[in-house]
């Protein structure tokens, strides 16, 4: 399982931002709706939600899901609250 240079560089990028204590995908999901609404409203992000932002920076899947959520919220169909 030898990595090539590009992969090692990407791994180095991940290692460089790795924190001892990170929220996992489930914890991120639990706060994602609040995070998304704060962001879309341009509201100040509560300190606790900073950890969601950190997780999204390092987790491709959660970031992808967040992008879809934002798209849904931007084009939210009328008639639901």
């Amino acid at each position: 399982m030898r990595l090539d240079r590009e992969e090692i560089v990407r791994l180095l990028a991940l290692v460089a931002v790795t924190r001892e204590d990170e929220v996992d995908c489930d914890a991120c999901l639990a706060d994602l709706a609040e995070f998304a609404e704060s962001e879309l409203l341009g509201a100040d992000l509560p300190v606790a939600l900073g950890r969601v932002e950190e997780h999204l920076a390092g987790c491709g899947e959660c970031a992808e899901e967040y992008a879809v959520l934002r798209e849904v919220m931007r084009s939210a169909p009328a008639g639901a609250s």
């Binding site: 030898r2 990595l3 959520l69």
Partner: protein, 225 residues
């Protein structure tokens, strides 16, 4: 599985329950059982069926029956996890996070279903080539090369087989839930596995005398070269 609101239910048709609800209204209606719950489920189902397809299109055309199944599964999960909704957002935003995760998990499963872990963890095409940045000084190049070599060695020596497999598969684009499906782990367990691996690699670099600032600096320089 019998469908929630497989079509407009008679109860829903009879009721004139507005789709607009407060958070408390959603919780109360979804917990009510009977016709009230059926109407709330139908409203949520209808919302998700309208909201999801357009936003998923960037990942390819999603067949209608897949969307129906995704929404159905999402409703089941939403009902099962109602106690976790703390009212810190709109209910529909919260329910959408669940539906998006269900949808993306299904799309990833379909995209990766014919790919094995062995397919993605075979050796890379080449070993680490020299970093050729004519503008950088030879000492800086050697130092960065040293960090990359040290990291490559740590991947081989410091990680467990499972950690190495998960890290390599993830670097090559396999989603965590798909890695987990093949290792018998949940997505969250895979995240913890790779997080532990990254911490181990960082400690290994620190033990070799590199602090976080040097690691970041090496990454930035390597990314440019």
């Amino acid at each position: 599985m019998s469908g929630f609101g497989a079509g407009p239910s008679k109860a829903y048709a009879r009721q004139r329950t507005p789709v607009m609800r407060t958070n408390e209204g959603w919780l109360s209606d979804l917990r009510a059982g009977g016709a009230t719950q059926a109407a709330a489920l139908e409203a949520l189902r209808s919302y998700l069926l309208r909201a999801l397809p357009g936003s998923l299109r960037r990942y390819g055309e999603v067949p209608e029956d897949v969307i129906e199944d995704v929404v159905q599964d999402s409703l089941v999960r939403t009902l099962a996890h109602l106690d976790r909704f703390e009212g810190r957002s709109r209910f529909t935003t919260w329910a959408t996070t669940i539906a998006v995760r269900v949808a993306m998990t299904e799309l990833r499963r379909r995209r990766w279903r014919d790919v094995s872990l062995d397919d993605v963890t075979v050796d890379a095409r080449s070993e680490l080539p020299a970093i050729a940045d004519p503008k950088s000084d030879p000492e800086g190049r050697a130092a960065r090369r040293g960090i990359l070599d040290a990291l490559a060695t740590l991947v081989e020596t410091a990680l467990s087989e499972r950690q190495r497999t998960a890290i390599v598969a993830e670097l090559r684009g396999m989603p965590q839930e798909e890695i987990g499906r093949r290792l018998g782990l949940s997505r969250n367990a895979v995240y913890k596995l790779t997080h532990d691996a990254r911490k181990k690699l960082r400690r290994g670099l620190e033990d070799a005398g590199l602090d976080a600032a040097e690691i970041r600096s090496a990454f930035e320089a390597a990314g440019r070269s």
